[in-house]
Amino acid sequence: MQLSEAARRLLEFLDPEGVLIGGICAAIYGVERFTRGVDIAADLDPETVVRRLREAGVEAVVRRSAEPGDLTWVVHGEAGGVEFQVLPAAEVGLAPGAFAMKAGLRVADRDGFITSKCIAGGQQDLHDVAALCLLDPKIEPRAREVAAAHGALAKLESWLHDRRLRQRYAPPPGEG
């Protein structure tokens, strides 16, 4: 199954509370990179997520954590050969209703996506945020503010100054 088709089906099973985040969302907003699976944030409890997926014939398991800094739960599974995970929307920084429709898919709006990436805080996450800032410099002050609030400003700054990322995403002089 194609990645986007898997995302579309999973969103149908978790409609209307599920929204796409992660690599597919990044691609939709213009960041080109490989992604291994589908990431969805859902404003649901994990039992409801698993029940809805099982009713649709998709097996999934809940992994819980009580470690500080970890998400309290993540639902993992595989649909049509595509790995997926469903995360708690509130914990990844997504407010209910903060979504946009893109190509018929319900995706986190750009601000929510940036917040989710700054909360996750990994190198790949801040790479994506920096790429979005380079594609649309108007959002950079807001991205910096969110990154600072989540302790990720140094990583964002580092990516914003990355020569290869700038070559790839920053508009050529005179077009910005």
Binding site: Q2, L3, S4, E5, G23, I24, A27, I28, G30, E32, F34, T35, G81, A100, M101, K102, A103, G104
Partner: protein, 87 residues
Amino acid sequence: MTPRKGELLEVVDRSPALSIYALAKEAGRNYRRVYDHVQELAAAGLLTVRPEVRNGRRVSMVEGVVHQRLRRLDELFAFKAEIDAAQ
């Protein structure tokens, strides 16, 4: 760009790939005008029009930049899956 063309681009970007007929219906506009605008936007590189056969009929599917990005991602994913399977 005229506001009407801008509105059309917005409808294309938020919707799954649509035929020109379905796009006109979704946008609540006249088919002929939408057809002309799609051709102009495609010539400007802002849309692509892809022929497809549905129920034995040839239809022109309209895709925007978001669809193209998803298509590239799918291709990348399929390529990686092929490499993984070969290893």
